[in-house]
């Protein structure tokens, strides 16, 4: 187990290195600089700025410095917001996005699994068709339409929740729902097909032959095995959801990392773009690792050993 984790950490480091390198050079290759804008700056000022941020030094120096500072968890100063570092921006935005993401992740997973299980247990009956129509809608309706719809119906018409802003728990419900809709639909479909597959297995017939009730068979024998593919999907999903969605954050006026990221792109805020990208990658790589470990715990056939196969 320890050997497995250290091996995985090593490969995560390697991936991170490649990602950082790629982002660094892509950023440099993109036309325009952080200080090119509508209004041309006087050449002296631009020269000073470049010097101040070290942009006048040879690329390999910049590249090496960047690697070193990231290793120290220092993403550098923001090019756009004077006096703020990228770390500050992440520290401000991420907790908000994280909270929103967690809430929608919980919603998506619990409702998605519930829908999928109900659909599979009532295969080809109205519950199944209902759940799947729901799922297709969830997948095909874009989140900004879903958000506006929720705002219109639940906030404006029914007045159940506030329309926007980020102030109380009440305020978090609608954006979390809007963000959860698509992954929930995915999880429902995944759970359904996986449940149907599991229910056709011989060991389900064995469980039935033992006299277990339908409920006992579903809970003890079917769901656990049916959730394995769902767990796999959870890794990338949680990274995507936890880092925030620009669209949702924009619509609901939420000061999260997602809106920060998009803002930094239109601002050509190089350090922020790179910092957030690297932060996102770290999150993604670690959530995939976590999922793999969880998978190993759920499925005893998978040995988290260092070797190739088995022990």
């Amino acid at each position: 187990m320890l050997r497995y984790i250290s091996r995985r950490l090593l490969s995560i480091l390697l991936s991170l290195f490649l990602i950082i390198t790629a982002t660094f050079f892509l950023m440099r290759a993109a036309p325009g600089g952080p200080f090119s804008g509508e209004k041309k700056l006087p050449p002296e000022i631009e020269k000073n700025l470049n010097e101040y941020y070290g942009l006048d030094r040879p690329w390999y120096n910049q590249y090496f410095d960047y690697l070193v500072s990231i290793a120290k968890w220092d993403f550098g100063p923001s090019f756009k917001y004077k006096g703020q570092t990228v770390n500050d921006l992440i520290n401000d935005g991420f907790p908000v996005s994280f909270f929103l993401g967690m809430e929608s992740l919980l919603l998506a997973v619990s409702l998605g699994i519930l829908l999928g299980v109900i659909a599979a247990l009532n295969h080809n009956k109205w519950q199944d068709y209902g759940a799947m129509i729901f799922a297709v809608l969830g997948i095909s309706v874009p989140s900004f339409i879903m958000a506006s719809l929720l705002q219109y119906v639940l906030a404006i018409k029914l007045g159940l929740f506030p329309v926007a802003r980020w102030e109380s728990l009440q305020h978090t419900v609608l954006p979390a729902l809007a963000l959860a809709a698509t992954p929930m639909a995915f999880i429902a479909r995944l759970t359904r097909s996986s449940m149907l597959e599991v229910l056709s297995n011989d060991y389900i017939r064995t469980a039935k032959a033992k006299g277990l009730s339908k409920g006992q068979i579903t809970v003890k024998h079917a769901i656990r095995n049916a959730l394995l593919p769902v767990v796999t999907y959870l890794g990338p999903l949680s990274a995507a959801v936890l880092t925030g969605s620009f669209v949702i954050e924009k619509i609901f006026g939420i000061p999260g990392l997602g809106s920060q990221f998009v803002l930094s792109i239109s601002n050509r805020d190089y350090t922020t773009i790179m910092g957030v990208t690297v932060f996102y990658s770290i999150l993604l790589l670690f959530s995939v690792l976590l999922v793999d470990i969880a998978y190993g715990l759920i499925d005893p056939r998978i040995k988290l050993a260092g070797g190739k196969k088995g022990e």
Binding site: D202, Y203, R205, T206, A207, A209, G211, S213, Q216
Partner: protein, 355 residues
Amino acid sequence: MEKLLEVKDLQVSFQTYGGEVQAVRGVSFHLNKGETLAIVGESGSGKSVTSQTIMRLIPTPPGKIKSGQIIFNGEDLAKKTDKEMEAIRGKDIGMIFQDPMTSLNPTMKVGHQIMEVLIKHLKMDKAAAKERAIELLRLVGIPMPEKRVNQYPHEFSGGMRQRAMIAVALASNPKLLIADEPTTALDVTIQAQILELMKDLQKKMGTSIIFITHDLGVVANVADRVAVMYAGKIVEMGTVDEIFYDPRHPYTWGLLASMPSLDSDDKAELAAIPGTPPDLTNPPKGDAFAPRNPYAMKIDFELEPPMFKISDTHYAATWLLHPDAPKVEPPEAVKKRLRQLSSNYPQPVIVKESE
């Protein structure tokens, strides 16, 4: 002898896109207490459907019991609801399936899969159930059961898994054990061990067994009586001696002739029955075996043969037993085995369908 199970004129069909598959077409047999009945027949003859219908494990739809009774312990299982069957499955009737690799839940400890039965039917608490599970594993010949009880199926070999399945099936000391091709997926030496174990356990626990196989070779060792199935019907039934030494149905002859026997070194005579079983969506008129039957007469293609009784225990459904039928010689491989059985009637007699 006391009857434990009596199946009367059971008919089971499946509704499919291609039409109604008549998998079981009027099967009747009984099983006495402590007895082993083997059901043999080629693949597709309806053995599994028959046995799973007794347990009411047939998915409905598409499956349906069209008619018949399954009298077990004086009650008709065909009339029970799913909820009522839960109290019988695993408690009074245990079942073992063909493929031990897929019949156990891969993500649940083997011990736990045995404990489930004990907790459900014998109302044991967890600790008692675990102890009993260890005992059961020991009983079915699994070494180091204290360790094995906490292991997962993938840590067991095929033979060990089938032993574990037997432990599951026998956990609540059922009156009836249905074993559907329990050794087919195993290699020969393991096969013999599993058969030995089943016989041994039957002696200890007094269980009645329905033993399903497509291989007559394993039957002689385990069964008291044999039912030969073809195309959803029992075509011949009798004691092991009657089936092996005085078979009457040409299909049974075919099965016996294609069975490797110890006393024959001549491989050439091992002939599988030519042809394939009929399509059960459209069962043929007359005797379903007629197209593959070298002894078929004109009437076989027209009219279904009635059941003839050869002795108190021996039945066969073939026109060859009719007084007007010509005398025919069974194939050489079968002829060598034939013995005169003293229990036979002077003449086969026709029995009514309803018996």
